[in-house]
Subunit: 454 residues, 2 copies
Amino acid sequence: MTLRKLLAAFLPESQLGAGASVLDGHSSDLSYHEPCHPDAVVYAESTEDVSRILAWANAEVVPVTAFGAGTSLEGHVIPVAGGISLDLSRLDRVLALRPADLQADVQAGTLRSELNRVAAREGLWFTVDPGADATLGGMAATNASGTTTVRYGGMRANVLALEVVLADGSVIRPGSRTVKSSAGYDLKSLFVGSEGTLGVITQLTVRLAGIPEHTVALRGSFPSLDSACQCAATLAAAGVGVQRLELLDAPTIAAVNAYKGSAFAPAPTLFIEVAGTKAAVAGDAATVADVANWEGCIELVEAHEAEARSRLWEARHHVLFALLNESPGKVHRATDVCVPVSELAGAIAHARQLADDLRLNAAIVAHAGDGNYHVLLMFDPEDPDERGRVDRLSTEIVGWALARGGTCTGEHGIGLGKIDHLEQEHSDLIPLFARLKESFDPNGILNPGKVIRA
Amino acid sequence: MTLRKLLAAFLPESQLGAGASVLDGHSSDLSYHEPCHPDAVVYAESTEDVSRILAWANAEVVPVTAFGAGTSLEGHVIPVAGGISLDLSRLDRVLALRPADLQADVQAGTLRSELNRVAAREGLWFTVDPGADATLGGMAATNASGTTTVRYGGMRANVLALEVVLADGSVIRPGSRTVKSSAGYDLKSLFVGSEGTLGVITQLTVRLAGIPEHTVALRGSFPSLDSACQCAATLAAAGVGVQRLELLDAPTIAAVNAYKGSAFAPAPTLFIEVAGTKAAVAGDAATVADVANWEGCIELVEAHEAEARSRLWEARHHVLFALLNESPGKVHRATDVCVPVSELAGAIAHARQLADDLRLNAAIVAHAGDGNYHVLLMFDPEDPDERGRVDRLSTEIVGWALARGGTCTGEHGIGLGKIDHLEQEHSDLIPLFARLKESFDPNGILNPGKVIRA
């Protein structure tokens, strides 16, 4: 009997995906990894559904890969072992908003945009911004972060509590609604970043923040990567209200100019956003200018109104388009190395030199306050040589970073693509990871092939 | 053969504690829990020492309880099962200071004051302030926090990486020198707060912050607990540079007045510290005044110079002395409930009413921005009735908090004293805690009797 028929014994037809397009839609994410079809797609509509499905799959030893918005970047949601793609997108409700506590309870399939829409009614927002409109459950599963992490932290810092369904179908609720707790082992932090391999997140209590009343955007061009990174590090350390601190290297600016016909100075450039009360922002923007000038900033542009701020950020937002435009028909892949901030300038210079040496078309963007940078690479999947050069760049920049206290992934997670790098980075921890996996998922049904080898 | 003689086979005499006073010094902490002597005290002088001792103890199934400065508040360091008290106080070196990354590497036995002394040379400080001059390893083991957590977070947020010796003597290094990482399961957060029951922390990489150039202290009296707590919640949410936000309830202020002969308004009182650049502090102090006035603040006093700030904080610092003075010969015990900030005023009012009903001498102090409050209670250990009333208060306020999303411990940890409360708070997690303990410490040698039942 097919898996779908077996599931139909205890799930209504409306919760079983049908047709090739549904299977296609659950075979890939936004990454360069090979698609792979699940044997069946199931739409969960409640925690109880997830519990029943996992209990059954555990007894039958059927793989289950959770699926949210499909925006992962290392193949996390690709069901490489077949089995069930457990789609959580119907669990899409904001269950509670507690403005006085700056908290919301959301179902795991809730999109970030939906939470922000509801929170905005109370003047609040959810601060983690990975770019994509991901689900909150997926963002927690990969410990996502992004452009605002320099100020607000990533998912682990912004998730207070979880509801998780374990492999055997039991439901647990690690964490607390309090902003701090020392009550027992920190299972909440263990599930955040576990990529669906230890349990399936069905609900989250997250922190919110007040929407800043005033925002100023600044764009500064610098004489060198060193000076731009030093400016970013100083601002991140100063504790001023900088909530975004993005860096593009000079060739990336040049690529944007070529694509847009713009005339941005082809120099390392920081995109900075300062937010808070009007008075605080004025003070902080002045601090940004002081620090930037101290570091030899060539040109600093400031924008206050929403439209002007959007224009100011344009170069940053067009990086991927510029790259795609340069390389029609190619596939893109993003590295995700993170280093101590003092190593960032060196890391980017090394990566750029390597891309040149390997004749790779690359854009480099960094969350400069966190030491996290992405090399966006275009390659032809049918060209094994080019593909090999991309692999080589990725491997070499990870090695460079690990030798300097860095990590192979700042925010994308391990998924399918970084298992080798994880073993290189934390060889001492791999036996413990395996023991944890064995303890939480003895039959190996939960997202097999991700984080650690199946 | 005695344990000491067995240890002398592989450890020099200089690392073996001798005499009754050494055993006494390792039999208790700052809590009300019954002292209990270890069978032997061992002073580790290196990670290799800790590794050798644990490997031996694991093979021989001898309990090992790590000991730092002995400042724990729930009996964490009391070796209730006998065996070895593993004293880490000789591992007291700041190994590296990396000002450009705002980081330090320290040995686990390093005192907080020592780290701050070394960091101050570079204009930096370690921000977690639990009051006591604890060791960094001990603070990590209990996930300590304190008066500055409202701004900087507690230990879990400020520890980037650890060196941990496991029960079998193997050494692992979870975490990273980067400010964020999504590389594998978060073992760093698991060991932080594990109270020496999963491994022994021997080294830490911690975050530092710049010493603020300017500090202002404010003390405000409020017409009600509600208004004082609302003021605190608003300030914590506003993201201004408030780095301390402490609350005393009216009877506690009255007790201080009685002890000091002072004339503070006997009303709920907030002690606030704002720090940053001179300009930022001026703006933030004005915001504090605005919010306080909006909440009906009766009197707001501001102090700028160091001496005046100390005087302003005097009432807060004299709470314990006032209490001890009122109850000569008695022992004190501190509860550690934490609730969502919107519940704090209700929690304190409930605890105060209960203390009155139970005829208990109580002071109440709160880290108001975090929703964490301590009821400091005096009791005669020889008086079972009074002791029973203290137990009853503790149990009732925990029950009240748990019904409202709170936790039994915001920062002191579980130790010996809160195992029942932990089971009440996280009954669904206890089987997982037990599985983790079994997985990391199959022979049960690591601090038996703490966090979970032996």
